[in-house]
């Protein structure tokens, strides 16, 4: 199914997760279109960039 479409790639799986979670909370927590886009962008950037930052910090550890 979906896994067949997505290669086993940590970044892509994380990106899909961020996309789904950001869309969900933007629709749930905000009323207007503008506010929804703003929250979506904030959450998306936080999840993707935060994930990359944590991965980079953990890189030296086995």
């Amino acid at each position: 199914m979906i896994a067949a479409l997505i290669p086993v790639d940590h970044f892509l799986i994380m990106f899909l997760y961020a996309l789904l979670a950001s869309s969900f909370f933007a629709l749930l927590w905000r009323e207007t279109k503008r506010e929804r886009w703003k929250l979506f962008a904030t959450l998306m950037a936080s999840l993707v960039l935060g994930g990359l930052a944590v991965a980079w910090l953990m890189y030296p550890f086995p």
Binding site: I2, A3, I13, Y17, L20, A21, F24, L27, L28, E31
Partner: protein, 135 residues
């Protein structure tokens, strides 16, 4: 039919909160559909269903309560939040317990738990809208 507030804003007619919450649990977005929020209902149905199916595709685990593993109680509660999706998956999935050796197993578990928890938030949201706490 829509009611109008004193400020002239359109408001969804008051519905039964228990029915709204129950429908929201049965299938993602169904509670919002019942409350007249059709476009939002479709969006929620797509997002939660894709999240849950992705979890199954990534060979995650549909948790069950295990003795001596208290955290499985919380995980089971979260996965059962997905309603019919979870119940159907338990019957139809090749390996409901997940494939622990799969490289995507942990991702699958995270997606399945997230799908269930998202739907539980939709249950609470439908309850709030139906009871007039939220527009």
């Amino acid at each position: 039919m829509r009611e109008t507030t004193s400020g002239g804003e359109a408001r969804a007619p008051r519905r039964n909160p228990i029915a709204a919450a129950a429908l929201a649990w049965v299938f993602p977005g169904l509670g919002h559909w019942y409350l007249g929020k059709r476009r939002l209902a479709i969006a929620f149905a797509v997002i939660v269903t894709v999240t849950f199916l992705a979890g199954l595709s990534f060979e995650g685990r549909l948790y069950t309560v295990e003795s001596g593993q208290p955290l499985t109680i919380l995980a089971t509660f979260a996965v059962y939040g997905a309603g019919v999706l979870n119940i159907a998956a338990r019957f139809l999935a090749d390996s409901p317990g997940g494939t622990i050796l799969s490289p995507t197993y942990e991702y699958g578990c995270a997606y399945l738990l997230t799908g269930g928890l998202m739907n539980l938030l939709l249950v609470l949201d439908a309850w709030d809208i139906a009871s007039g706490r939220k527009r």
